[in-house]
């Protein structure tokens, strides 16, 4: 029973809970058991809220018994990335500096999940403050890829992707600043969506780079991601950058799954050199499948994409250096060195930050502080913003020729833990294909398109659509997913070694 319950999709689970075939408490228990059985090895979770999860599940069962109308994801368990606040539940952002902090408020995403009867199992591991592509920058130790425990699960949202891939939860929330939802999805054989910037409220998402951050769904199927996005999306007055446009019908699009007559553009600059052979092979096969489904394949060029990574690594550290200034030991989190001598407040702030932040975080704070300094602002931050505009224009031109754009999500499959830890630039290159979407604020999805022949590890394909046209991702993604499922005969995660 337990193994059956954990392998259900979110849509199936919700329907079984709604019909009374299983109780939400049974579903929650099955997942808590699974976490108990495998998470010591996967380390997807930083905190498991057994009590809270069971209480939430019980509330759903009671509501059902009382004849109340259940929302479409009521009773479905979910893993929440530890960058999102949940009232009374430890929120660390993978950092030592926030150790022991329990937020006094729910993020808007958290509040919407609770209101929809989604059962939050706990908080997932991540690179510190969402900076990284491997989860190795977590202060609490890395998460392991369920496909190969010696490999990285991607990052920064490796915990969320691994939890979904390891059947510890059918759904998870991730956040994506430069690829932190999509790249982990690609390397764990799961689905991850970064919605249009502003589609999902950032209120309660501990900011890394405010102009790039976006929360979104992680799941094992395209439809599940759509169901989750429709729960968390929508305008929020607490986040003035959240869009006021109506939420597109992503669930309807996932159910439609029809690419006939659609123009699909392959981005010339994302692929080729630097991309692993098996990644390119699976990507090319997927293109052939899409063509077979009736889509028209065109090649588009985005000439400024080669500058995206450089612009990103100026904008992100700049905003990050300011966003992380509040972590000073004065009001929350740890405080270091207060009793050592007779320190000034500045010294305590400095000691707290030096002890509380990891190397990658300090590196980016220093980069950003420098880039924003008087005399350098125009050359760095100002120039990067101009590149950002050029990338937006590249996308505009490309979307004049194609309804959606596709590329491999990541240049390689999951690499070994420790392999790139001492080489930040090599680590940064992992996000080369995902960063442009963040710079332009457009939505992107990664879904699995097979295993690379040379290492047997999952390969992800990225779909990108114009801003506010998130529904196109789901339509194309669901069509491709259905065709691949027919080819494979079973979901790809069944090929992962059992834990």
């Amino acid at each position: 029973m337990t193994s059956e319950l954990i392998s259900l999709t979110a849509a199936e689970t919700a329907s079984k809970v709604a019909s009374g075939e299983v109780s939400a408490v049974e579903v929650a228990n099955a997942h808590l058991d699974r976490i108990g059985a495998v998470d010591e090895r996967v380390h997807a979770f930083l905190y498991v809220d057994r009590e809270g999860a069971l209480a939430a599940a019980d509330a759903v069962d009671k509501a059902r018994a009382a004849g109340e109308q259940l929302s479409p994801l009521a009773g479905v368990p979910l893993a929440l990335k530890d960058v999102m606040t949940q009232k009374g539940i430890p929120t660390t952002c993978g950092s030592k500096i926030l150790e022991g902090w329990r937020p006094p408020y729910d993020a808007t995403v958290t509040a919407r999940l609770k209101a929809a009867g989604v059962v939050i199992l706990g908080k997932t591991n991540m690179d510190e403050f969402a900076m990284g592509s491997s989860t190795e920058h977590s202060a609490y130790g890395p998460t392991h890829n369920p496909w190969d425990l010696d490999r990285i699960p991607g990052g920064s949202g490796g915990g969320s992707a691994a939890a979904v891939a390891a059947f510890e939860a059918p759904l998870a929330i991730g956040t994506d600043t430069g690829g932190s939802i999509r790249q982990p999805a690609a390397v764990t054989g799961t689905v991850g969506v970064k919605p249009t910037y502003g589609a999902v409220s950032r209120y309660g998402l501990v900011a890394l780079a405010s102009s790039l951050d976006q929360a979104g769904p992680c799941s094992r199927t395209v439809l599940d991601a759509a169901l989750l996005q429709s729960v968390i999306a929508g305008h929020d007055p607490m986040d003035s950058t959240s869009v006021t446009d109506p939420v597109p019908d992503v669930v309807g699009a996932a159910l439609r799954a029809d690419v006939k007559g659609l123009k699909i553009g392959i981005v010339r600059e994302l692929g080729g050199e630097g991309y692993q052979a098996g990644v390119r092979q699976r990507f090319d096969e997927a293109v052939t499948i899409l063509e077979g489904l009736g889509a028209e394949i065109v090649e588009v060029s985005c000439p400024h994409f080669p500058y995206a990574l450089a612009a990103y690594y100026l904008i992100l550290p700049s905003e990050c250096s300011s966003n992380l200034a509040k972590f000073d030991g004065v009001r929350f989190g740890i405080r270091v060195g207060e009793g050592d001598g007779d320190p000034s407040i500045e010294q305590v702030m400095g000691r707290t930050r030096a002890a509380g932040f990891g190397d990658e975080t300090i590196r980016r704070i220093m980069l950003g502080t420098y880039a924003l300094s008087a005399g350098y602002y125009d050359a760095y931050y100002g120039q990067a913003q101009k590149v950002r505009t050029l990338i937006q224009r590249d996308f505009a031109a490309a979307f004049a020729q194609a309804d959606v754009l596709i590329s491999p999500t990541a240049p390689t499959t999951a690499f070994k833990l420790g392999e790139k830890l001492d080489d930040p630039l090599a680590m940064y290159l992992n996000d080369v294909a995902t960063i442009p979407a963040n710079l332009a604020g457009i939505p992107g999805m990664s879904l699995p398109v097979g295993l690379a022949p040379e290492d047997g590890l999952p390969v992800g394909l990225q779909i990108m659509a114009p801003a506010l046209a998130d529904d196109r991702l789901y339509n194309v993604g669901a069509a491709l997913e259905a065709a691949l499922l027919q080819t494979w005969g079973h979901p790809i995660l069944q090929e992962a070694p059992s834990l």
Binding site: T85, T91, P103, P104, Y105, M238, K326, D328, L372, Y377
Partner: protein
């Protein structure tokens, strides 16, 4: 590096003979909105520390600001009243620096895109050649959030050095502020201190008229920093400036500017250089002392606030706000001065005491302008000063004053009794009529008791009575005084005099 407290100064006349002063004034106004700039917390003054806070104004991880629309409207109205241009598109910016009373360690402010810019305010100053108008250019007026308030505990001075520990109250953090910055104010010559004071006075009247702030300097809802520099002559390049803070009253603005001019002149005359620094004004000793050194190289790493969308006020809305602005205080003043027919000097006294609206209302309720001014600018201003409160905070209204004056006009009260009634109203004894009734304060108008008192007084002083009878009418004052004393002031002195002379068969 820091200047000693016993700085040398040069007599003011000599400063003016040798130097040309240049001013720059920065005024911070706390808006009187019900909620803070970026969250829904209340803004009430004087609440228990850290009770008016939430995740946003505490800068908790994950929280985000959302702009208070009323604050934006107030900012635009202030800009319009100061003849500013209103930006069609502007953004907030982050000013990054670490300080424990700044919850986020950056202040959400505006930098190179202020909402209001390029305006002016004309102020009148009494000069040797009569009243003269100076035009003060307004560089910008922008929106920002206030910081929390730090208090240093233990230690003798209440300053951070030597304190045992510090406490921070975040109730003030996030209160909407408008910072109004002047262009350099030149050409004032010796009137620089008066122009500074007149500017802040006029600005305060405008803000009060707009109803956007309670503009209480002593509570910090209007704060002024005065930048002062000296140069050898008006065509020389600008000298190094100092920025004097902690100037908490209109009078101290004038004094602080004057002091700083005399201090800088002494430094320059001795061949020294002025250090660009923040200086603190000390109300009690009337001097400024060195604060932290402030160089232009201070780097706040400003960049556009990515958590807020740009503000693009609809031009039609701005025009609507413009059309709804209250009458300009200067025009309003000129109109009242003409109606009352009083001198510039008398009008200045009304304005400077902050009594203009109160006097106008009292007159509108039927009181004579001279009487209304006498009460508000004289007696009541004195009482307000004694109590260290604003005139408007006294528990007495223009209606009360007008009623007292009406009773005087009817002859029911004389001047002395009227003072007692005002005193009773201020003591919370009720309306003027209630005070009159409760205290039994009425002019004795029945001649019977007056005649009795007159006879008694005459009997007491037969010699005086004789003098009066013999035609020395001036001696009547002594008897009138005695009668007034006997009736505890409740008699109409004029009537007593009439009756007395009648009694003695003497005419004036």
């Amino acid at each position: 590096m820091s200047t000693s407290t016993a700085d040398a100064v040069v007599p003011y006349d000599e400063v003016i003979a040798e130097f040309d002063p240049v001013l720059g004034l920065e005024v911070h106004v706390e808006l009187g909105t019900n909620t803070k700039m970026f969250c829904g917390c209340p803004t009430e003054f004087g609440a228990e520390p850290n009770t008016q806070v939430c995740p946003v104004c505490l800068g908790l991880p994950g929280s985000m600001p959302a702009v208070n629309a009323t604050a934006v409207e107030s900012a635009i109205r202030i800009g319009l009243a100061l003849n500013c241009k209103i930006a069609t598109w502007c953004r907030f910016a982050r000013k990054n620096y670490f300080y424990p009373d700044m919850p986020k360690n950056f202040q959400t402010s505006q930098y190179d895109e202020p909402i209001c810019y390029d305006g002016y305010l004309d102020v009148d100053v009494e000069t040797d050649e009569g009243m003269k108008t100076f035009r003060v250019g307004i560089e910008r007026a922008h929106m920002e959030e206030d910081t929390g308030k730090t208090s240093h505990q233990g230690g003798a001075t209440g300053r951070i050095h030597g304190a045992d520990y510090s406490l921070v109250d975040y109730n003030r953090a996030g209160i909407p502020l408008i910072e109004i910055v002047t262009k350099t104010i030149e050409g004032t010559g010796k009137y620089a201190p008066e122009v500074a004071r007149a500017y802040v006075t006029a600005l305060r009247e405008i803000l009060r008229g707009l109803g956007v702030s309670d503009v209480k300097m002593e509570q910090g809802s209007l704060r002024c920093d005065a930048n002062v520099s000296l140069r050898p002559s008006p065509d020389a390049k600008l000298g190094t400036r100092t920025e004097t803070k902690n100037v908490n009253s209109l009078r101290s603005i004038e004094r602080a500017v004057r002091y700083e001019m005399t201090r800088q002149a002494a430094v320059l005359r001795a061949g020294g250089t002025i250090i660009q620094e923040t200086r603190h004004w000390h109300e009690d000793t009337g001097i400024t002392t060195s604060g932290r050194e402030k160089s232009d190289a201070e780097d706040y790493r400003y960049f556009p606030e990515p958590d807020l969308v740009p503000i693009a006020p609809d031009p039609a809305w701005v025009e609507k706000l413009r059309s709804e602005l209250p009458e300009n205080p200067a025009v309003y003043q000129a109109r009242l001065q003409a109606a009352w027919g009083i001198s510039d000097f008398d009008m200045m006294a009304v304005v400077r005491s902050g009594a203009l609206d109160l006097v106008a209302e009292t007159v509108a309720l039927g009181a004579d302008q001279a009487a209304a001014r006498k009460w508000w600018v004289g007696e009541l201003t004195r009482i307000a000063n004694d109590r260290a409160v604003e005139l408007t905070e006294l528990p007495i209204t223009p209606a009360d004053v007008a009623r007292v004056e009406a009773l005087v006009g009817e002859g029911a009260l004389n001047d002395k009794l009227a003072r007692q009634v005002i005193e009773g109203v201020l003591a919370g004894e009720g309306s003027p009529d209630e005070v009159v009734a409760a205290r039994g304060l009425a002019v004795v108008s029945d001649d019977g008791p007056l005649l009795e008192a007159i006879d008694a007084a005459l009997a007491e002083s037969p010699d005086v009575a004789e003098k009066i009878r013999s035609g020395k009418v001036a001696a009547a004052g002594a008897i009138v005084g005695a009668v007034m004393k006997a009736t505890r002031g409740q008699a109409d002195a004029g009537r007593v005099r009439e009756l007395l002379l009648e009694r003695l068969g003497v005419s004036e």
